[in-house]
Symmetry: C2
Subunit: 144 residues, 2 copies
């Protein structure tokens, strides 16, 4: 069963040990992880794996719709398994903390834009940046 499922996932492409490992790590990551960190974790389990394979696999996974690419904060690129419950990102400009949130307005917004521009929207990413309560407090203290 797992075999069939993975064949489907890969749409006929070879199901290699590297791909299995990378997909497993992406699943375990629960949230976003960047290519560098993914390579680091993969190396820990298979020390011969190369960065090239990580990048090639991520591009393949993206193409197959297995992962979504997300850009957060300082132009870093993160990946996460597709099909996780939709969520959006709120990033603290000062400390870099990332909060994932979800709000029903996002869905309504997507539908509205979809209708207005006749676009077939396949991906939505809302990125909010600002200061978290703690950093906001520090900021105030410092300027006072």
């Amino acid at each position: 069963m797992s075999r069939n499922r993975n064949n489907n996932l890969m749409r006929g492409r070879p199901w290699t040990s590297q791909r299995r490992l990378l997909l497993e790590l992406l699943r375990d990551a629960e949230g976003h992880i960047d290519a560098k960190e993914l390579y680091r974790r993969a190396s820990a389990r298979d020390e011969s794996i190369s960065p090239a394979t990580v990048y090639r696999s991520l591009n393949l996974f993206k193409e197959l719709g297995l992962v979504d690419e997300i850009r957060l904060g300082k132009v870093r690129c993160y990946y996460e398994i597709s099909g996780l419950p939709e969520h959006q990102h709120l990033v603290c400009y000062a400390c870099g903390k990332v909060i994932e949130f979800d709000n029903p307005l996002v869905g309504r917004l997507i539908k509205a834009v979809q209708r207005a521009h006749n676009f077939n929207v396949t991906k939505a990413e809302l990125y909010l940046e600002g200061y978290c309560p703690e950093c906001e407090e520090k900021e105030k203290t410092r300027s006072a």
Copy 2:
């Protein structure tokens, strides 16, 4: 007056010819422009300007809040003058076309998140990706 205004913009930092040129080009760009393109346009007017200056200036402008950094499509980084009317981006995955739109729901969404997480939100970016009407049509034709 222009002198005072620019001194304020720069918060005491020197108002150099390069910075003046770059800010002028950013203003003329009307929308987003990436560092590479900005360098190209700057070179046309001052052939001795260096990429290093462009990057250094963009970082400074960002720091001073004069421009916003925006990530679109294939992890490219764009800049635009702050304070333009807020707008969001809709990108066609197939042809790369970028549509800027605006929707009042965005404002409501920001306020809701702001309240829910007690964040001082300073920037909001909504990125929608999908297929524009033309590419959607081609896609259908091809698979039929």
